[in-house]
Symmetry: C2
Amino acid sequence: MASSQDVDMRPEVHVLRLSHRAVRDKRVTTHLGLVARAFGARRLVVTGTKDEHLVNSIQRVVASWGGPFDIAFISGWMKLIRDYKSRGFRVVHLTMYGLPVQDYMSEIRKSDKILVVLGGEKVPPEAYQLADYNISITSQPHSEISALAVFLDRLFEGRELKKKFENARQVIIPQARSKYVLKK
Amino acid sequence: MASSQDVDMRPEVHVLRLSHRAVRDKRVTTHLGLVARAFGARRLVVTGTKDEHLVNSIQRVVASWGGPFDIAFISGWMKLIRDYKSRGFRVVHLTMYGLPVQDYMSEIRKSDKILVVLGGEKVPPEAYQLADYNISITSQPHSEISALAVFLDRLFEGRELKKKFENARQVIIPQARSKYVLKK
């Protein structure tokens, strides 16, 4: 059995969330940040209303359950995507209108660095043009949260389920019928 | 290549969402319903505040994108779980404190019928006792929405990605860089 040090969390994944609205999207974007961290991404970048509450929630989770993971707000998402591309990131835009994930994952998985882009209510046409891949997970309406989780689980082929986080103050010891949290 | 009729969506899956709060959980429970439908479950049962808005949103999606899928509100969730068990359903409670999904999925997959239970903020200890399995997906905090999606994607081994819905008024035709919705 592989030890915790052997879990290979390549490729490096960052997540870009477009058009966060502080009131309406509070819980959805918080869940997105938690999913990004739990499923092996390194960073969540958010455009839209700067939201200190969101930043604080994510930082509290990292302080408590470990990292590395960080969150940043930016403006100018098109420039950001171009910057990522110039640094060698492949850009994967998750959208219900895109090509089936099961047909493209083995190709996408060859990238060293991936930027996953997730839209809000209305995704500007430029996002579809700037992306290297527009990818759908089911071609049905569901949620950015589920799309990101399934994409990362398939990208990392389940390795993320065994990821060990650094500097965690607490760790869950899995139990059949109860809760056991080890405090450090 | 398998035709649409060949997609085997067994086992039959229903989803129970505990303790929905109409205001705070509106979007999260809506996303849960959309995930349940898109990833191959047949029904979402919700306990807590009856929420006509939620029922209407889900029914609108089914009318537009197809089914079968339905949503129901109930009280008395412990009795409901016992009833499901007496009808031969295996009960899988998804919780960050449970046993690793990757170690139990092949066993769980042998069931013909599965009730997936998802908690709200505070899950009563009885849920852990009534469940046949308490299962975690990563042992890290993330979201009920992502937990359900990854569980169903692994349960159905990706077959749900090709599921065809009945009586859909619109269907997405996957595209590389644009949106194409076929209206029927």
